[in-house]
Symmetry: C2
Subunit: 202 residues, 2 copies
DNA sequence: AACGAAATGCAACTACTTGTTGCATTTCAT
DNA sequence: ATGAAATGCAACAAGTAGTTGCATTTCGTT
C-alpha cells in the first residue's frame, strides 16, 4: 500500500530516476488497454523491460504499484488565451477536453474510477486527480462568464459535464470518430442554450 | 465461445430454465461490481449458489459464459406516451436514460464495452445491444421532432449523447447524485439550444 | 410410483499463474 | 577504484483456475 518505493533512492531525489518513470508509464499504458483486474505485475515488468523481482521489491503489491503510478501523474497544462467570445472559449475548452480524453492518463484514470470495488483507495485518488483537472478546464470558461455573456444562474458544472460527457461517450465508449465539426455543433447547441442573447440559428 | 449451453436442454426449450436465468443474472451482477478481468467463474458459481463444475460443463470458458449472459439480456421496454412538448418529451427521455444507466445490465454492458482488449467479440455484442437501446430511446424524441419544434438540421444523435453522456458521467463515473432538478436543468439548456423558437429564460 | 437419462454436487487432482528468496552481477556516488 | 544499493536470474512456494471420476439428485416418461 506504499505510495513510494520502500527505500529512499540514493540517487538525486530531485527528479525520479528515469527507470522509475518508465515503470510508471508502463503501468499506465497497461492500464489503458486492460482492466485493473486483468493487469498483472509481470505484464508491466515486460513492458518496462525490467525484471519482475524489481517491481515486487519496490512495490509490495499491484495496488501499491498502481498507486505510485497514479501519484506520478502531473496534470498541469497551459491554459489557452481567451478568444474573446463565449462560443470561441467553449470550443477551445471542447478541443482541450477531447485531447485529454484520448490520453493514456485519462484512459487509465477512467478504469480506476470504475474500479471502486477491490481498491476504493485507488478510485478515490483517481477521482481527485480528475476533479483537479476539471477545475483547471473550468477556468477556460471564466473569461466568457466574466464578460457577462452567460445567462444568470447557469449551472456551469452541468455545461461542462454535458460537453465532456458527450466527448467521453463518443470517443471512449462508442469509439466513434470525434472531429472538430462535431465539437462545433455541440458548442453551438450549448451556447444557444446558455447565452444571454436569444438563440439564433447559425 | 459457444453462446448457448453445449447440449440442448431437454426441458421445454420455450423459456430458459430458471436456473439458467439465475446464472446469467449472477454473471451480470458480478460484472456490475468487478472488472471482466477480475471476474472469476467461481465467484459467479458462488453467487448463483451452484457448483463451479456445473458452470464449466455448460460454458467452456469465462468468455462463453459472459457471452451467453449478454445474449440473455432483453432490452425491450415500453415507450411512454408523448407529453406534447419538446421539453416534456426530452425530460421523459432523460429520466428513462437515468433509470437505465443505474441498472445492472447497463453497468455490465459498460464494463464490456470498455473491455475490447482480450475479448473484442464481447465488446462488439455489448455495443450492438447498447445501440439498439439507444435507438429505442431516440424514438421518444420523434414526436417532438415531427411536431416541427426542433430547428432544422439539428443533430439529434448529438443531443442524445450530450444528455446521455452527462448522465453517465455524473451517475456512473463521478458517482454524484442525479436528481430530477438536474435533469430539468440539462433539458432546459438543450431545449433552448435546439428549439425553433428563440430561447427564453425559464 | 418407478425407471432411466441427464444434470448436478463433491472431492481430488493437474496445470498454470502469482509472488518469494538466495545469490551472482551490474550500477553508481564517492 | 571501491563498496553499498539495485537489479537480473533461476529456482522455489503458494494460490487460483480448470478437469475428471463417481455418487447423488432431478425430472420427463411410462
Amino acid at each position: 500500500m506504499a505510495a513510494t518505493p520502500r527505500q529512499q533512492p540514493r540517487h538525486s531525489q530531485k527528479r525520479p530516476a528515469r527507470r522509475e518513470r518508465a515503470i510508471y508509464r508502463a503501468t499506465l499504458e497497461e492500464l489503458a488497454v486492460a482492466d485493473y483486474g486483468a493487469l498483472s505485475v509481470e505484464s508491466v515488468a515486460l513492458r518496462a523491460r525490467v525484471n519482475k523481482t524489481t517491481l515486487y521489491r519496490r512495490w509490495p503489491t499491484k495496488a501499491a504499484l498502481v498507486h505510485a503510478a497514479l501519484e506520478s501523474i502531473v496534470d498541469a497544462f497551459e491554459l489557452e488565451a481567451s478568444t474573446g467570445s463565449l462560443h470561441g472559449d467553449l470550443l477551445t475548452l471542447a478541443r482541450r477536453m477531447f485531447k485529454i480524453t484520448r490520453s493514456v492518463e485519462a484512459q487509465s484514470l477512467l478504469r480506476l474510477r470504475l474500479l471502486d470495488e477491490p481498491e476504493p483507495e485507488l478510485a478515490r485518488i483517481a477521482a481527485k486527480l480528475q476533479a483537479r483537472r476539471q477545475a483547471q478546464l473550468a477556468r477556460l470558461l471564466e473569461a466568457a462568464v466574466d464578460r457577462g455573456e452567460v445567462r444568470r444562474g447557469t449551472d456551469l458544472g452541468l455545461v461542462l459535464d454535458l460537453l465532456g460527457g458527450m466527448i467521453h461517450v463518443r470517443s471512449t465508449i462508442k469509439k466513434m470518430r470525434v472531429d472538430d465539426a462535431l465539437l462545433k455543433r455541440a458548442v453551438d447547441i450549448l451556447v444557444s442554450g446558455i447565452s444571454l442573447r436569444p438563440a439564433r440559428a447559425r
